[in-house]
Amino acid sequence: MDLVDTYARWIKKNVDDPEMVRKLIILGLKAEHAYFSLFRDKQVPRSFNYLNKIGVEFILNPLIYRDQSAWVNLFAPTEILHAMDIYPLCIEAFSSFLVGFHCEDVYVDYAQRSGISDTLCSYHKGFIGAALTGLLPKPKFMITSSMLCDANISTFRYLSWYHHIPMYSIDVPLEYSQQSISYLEKQLREMVKMLEEATGKKMDEDKLKDVIKRENKIHAHMNRYIDALRYKCHPTTLTLEMYMLFINHTFMGTQPTLNFYEMLTNELDSFPHSRAKRVFWVHIVPFYPNALKRYFNYSHRYEILGLDLNFDYLEEMDYENPYRTLARKMLLNNNNGPYQRKVDSIMSIVDRLQPDGIIHFCQWGCKQSVGGMMLLKKALDERGIPFLALDGDGADRRNHHEGQINTRLEAFLEMLDK
């Protein structure tokens, strides 16, 4: 901890020297990567050690190969970037790393001082601050989809104007229809043209098909993993759950992600039967609160089975029509459209996993998730499934109240233990 704090002090001291901060961050990430390549965390399965390593690698690449990078949000169709060998930098992931380096506050403050609203999601504020200070190297392109969150188009457009970098906003309608599929498909094709112009790289459609073929394999592994989770126990950490979020979205369809899932499904049989109280998590999970770490990290007593966001699309995709299938994937994401679709998808995963309780994390600034929370609670109450809402912020420690989270969580776990 002390080492991280010292590191944070260095970073904060050098905010005005973004090159220096970038070097410090890259150095820190490389050290972490080397550590996970050499040593194993024996408390978690082998596959999760690999996940840790690739998670760091994925964030390092766009920082190092800046002229081949693109900024994206979590729900951008990055399959297209992987097919074109462009490194995506996911804003939610990068902001999480700022939290890991204990320096998110200076970047959040920087964005707020520039006039950005303090009620905006802190994942966006941290990233905006990092972009405005020059900590992040300028990418070649930016891609955002309008799915789920209002902040996406606004944040990317703001940064695109600020840095004079081309961007593409993908407008995702709420309802699935032939018209909305065509609308989306046309946008994806238009975006690829712009990407080709901006990066000088050509899209090879066969490579895109390969990415989607791998994605199908990953979806199959994920389904096996969910079925195994019904009975098996695999101690993990909150951080690893967040890594899964990033590989399941931004790095979906890549070889390392497939490797991880192959390793994981190979290990499934060796996992012991679970005797823990099992919690399914809705929305993102903050990885720093002591109260959460104490109960869930490496625990055989209380387990987090996964985040709903990690299982938001598990269908077989038609790789022969890559653009159309990507359009379909966005439209039919469990979180797109009316909230009832999300409730239904959570109910179906609850049927598969049979958790003892559900925790909904109310992320600061995330209106699309907190606004419907009471509907989810109602649906779960009707089925007699215990529900807990925790308010906090995964991307700014200052909006987190340890005592409050601790009391609520302990009371909930006591309830489950009864």
């Binding site: 006039g115 950005i116 009620t119 209002d150 309802e175 018209q179 600061w364 606004g371 109240h401």
Partner: protein, 569 residues
């Protein structure tokens, strides 16, 4: 039948041509109990207000547009709670190309079909063309300045209601042009002729709606830049409105602030009228700064008897009075706590200072009042906001001052002056008491130390403690847990001073740093806070002998200017 709607992209004219009465929902209050039971405290306050309004009843149906995250969830919640009612949401594309227009036309057709199925209302293309031509003829040109003299403001940003426009006028604007989505920003293309069929006319209408001046929710917003140019050519200043828990507009505000050299004031409301007092002060000060002012205080050269004036600052915690003679000599001053009655406290402070100066009320030629209670001082001749008054007072005390940091009982402000002492910019904290005198007062109580001893006590600190909560309520519980951890009181106090300082620096940095600095208001008496601020800005902060008196002093100087102006006339 009455249908409630919220968004300018709603096909209102088409529905009206089907004899459906459409009412835009403009809630005036929020029932937090309802809002929190069905949603969450952190959704947009306008949406919470709409939820309250719909639950109150009076609408046969509600049409929403997929405007934002909060509205999408409002739809889900209403759909679930109001099962017998038609709750409808239009999926509005964010782009404005032909395909988007076709998509929106389909959405509108679906809506029309729903009305036919639900209520038996039929759409007729010719009725609609007839209706909209008459409407267009009657509409006239909107948002065209009337050309009269005076201060003309544009309101931009998140939706504003009529009471906010009235408030701008009350604060001194002579004319207000509404460029938010509740103003008329529609842009109709020439109407198709009467022979047009249903599909053509709906597409025409969808195109007109989707290609009107876009709100920030849309993806293609270049036309807002053109609008901005028009606005800057036609008005004296922009009041930029944002709504609590709606972030769309803060991006544009940030862009304008950094890229256009044009007077702009950002205000945030929760769409109710709770914060009217603070808003009037801020907008009033903005209007005053647009009017410009003459700072030179010259002596009126008439008669033998010296003219005497008074300034009275009716603040939330104290009422201060300064009596000045025409040579700007301070004859006396007084500070009394503001009690339950603003008028009683003002009378008390005024008579105290008259007594000290050895004069009677009749000797005072002009009185300017300032502060929250300024409007309610019956014996004042003129009211001026405390922002202008602090500017006057500080510049009078030290003409090198360019930045005033005023931390009062309930709010904090940073005011920027130009070389002539004019207020050119300012920022004020939000409605909460974070980083204000009240914040320190609450903490002093928790730490069982008199407020005035805090500065002294902090000098004994040996350990750095970081108080992370900014909110007074949360910080208090943080302080209590620090006490429980047996942390030294001096260290906790130093941590609190640092917390106030960093909040203040945040405010200061919204204006940018520029010396020389002066700090005014009660908190300036706390050496600990002053030093923490000095350390962060790396510059000296001037503290006047009586930092609480600066507002009243400025008011008195303005009173002198008034007298002089009268004599010139």
């Amino acid at each position: 039948m009455i249908i409630g709607y919220i968004c300018k992209y709603t096909p209102v004219k088409l529905l009206e041509s089907m004899s459906i009465e459409c009412v835009r929902i403009e809630p005036s209050y929020i029932d937090n109990g309802i809002a929190e039971a069905h949603m969450h405290p952190n959704v947009c306050t306008y949406v919470k207000g709409v939820l309250t309004e719909v639950f109150k009843g009076g609408y046969d149906g509600i049409i929403l547009v997929n405007c934002c995250d909060s509205v999408r969830r409002l739809y889900d919640v209403l759909k679930n709670a109001e099962k017998g009612k038609m709750i409808y949401m239009l999926d509005l594309p964010r782009k404005s190309g032909d395909q988007s227009v076709a998509m929106y036309a389909s959405e509108i057709k679906k809506l029309v079909q729903t009305f036919t199925d639900f209520y038996g209302k039929k759409f007729n293309a010719q009725d609609f063309i007839r209706y909209i031509s008459t409407e267009q003829e009657n509409a006239g040109q909107f948002n065209m300045p009337k050309g009269n003299d005076g201060i003309r403001l544009a309101i931009m940003g998140a939706r504003c209601n009529s009471s906010l426009i009235d408030l701008l006028k009350k604060a001194g604007a002579d004319e207000v042009l509404n460029y938010t989505c509740t103003g008329n920003l529609l842009n109709f293309k020439p109407l198709p002729d009467f022979s047009a069929g249903e599909q053509d006319i709906i597409e025409w209408y969808a195109g007109s709606l989707i290609r009107s001046i876009p709100c920030m929710r849309m993806a293609d917003i270049d036309r807002r830049r053109d609008m901005l140019k028009d606005i800057m050519a036609n008005v004296n200043g922009i009041v930029y409105h944002t709504i609590k828990f709606c972030e769309f507009y803060s991006y544009e505000y940030s862009y304008i602030k950094d890229n256009c050299r044009f007077p702009i004031l950002k205000i945030e409301t929760d769409f109710t009228q709770g914060s009217e007092g603070q808003l009037i002060t801020r907008i009033g000060a903005f209007v005053e700064s647009l009017k410009g002012s003459n700072n030179k205080v010259e002596r009126p050269s008439h008669g033998t008897r010296k003219t005497i004036v008074a300034g009275i600052d009716s603040g939330s915690l104290s009422t201060d009075v300064v009596i000045l003679d025409e040579d700007c000599n301070i004859l006396s001053y007084s500070i009394v706590p503001t009690g339950a009655s603003i008028v009683d406290s003002a009378n008390k402070a005024f008579s105290q200072s008259l007594k000290r100066a050895g004069i009677t009320p009749q000797d005072v030629s002009f009185i300017v009042s300032t502060g929250y209670g300024r409007i309610n001082i019956p014996f004042a001749n003129k009211q001026v906001t405390e922002i202008t008054c602090h500017g006057k007072g500080a510049y009078f005390l030290n003409s090198n001052i360019r930045t005033i940091i005023d931390i009062g009982g309930q709010d904090s402000k940073v005011i920027r002056l130009d070389e002539d002492g004019n207020v050119v910019d300012f920022v004020m904290n939000d409605r909460c008491s974070a980083g204000t005198g009240r914040f320190l007062e609450v903490m002093a109580k928790a730490l069982e130390i008199p407020l005035e001893k805090m500065g002294e006590e902090a000098e004994k600190a040996t350990e750095d403690i970081n108080i992370t909560s900014i909110c007074t309520v949360f910080a208090e519980s943080e302080v209590i847990s620090l006490i429980a951890q047996n942390k030294k009181r001096a260290d906790i106090i130093k941590g609190l001073h640092n917390s106030v300082a960093s909040k203040t620096i945040g405010l200061l940095d919204r204006l940018g740093r520029k010396g020389a600095y002066m700090m005014t208001g009660g908190v300036a008496k706390n050496r600990g806070v002053v030093e923490a601020i000095e350390q962060r800005i790396g510059d000296k902060v001037h503290i006047p002998a009586e930092p609480q008196m600066v507002g009243a002093l400025g008011a008195a100087i303005l009173a002198l200017q008034e007298i002089k102006a009268k004599h010139v006339k």
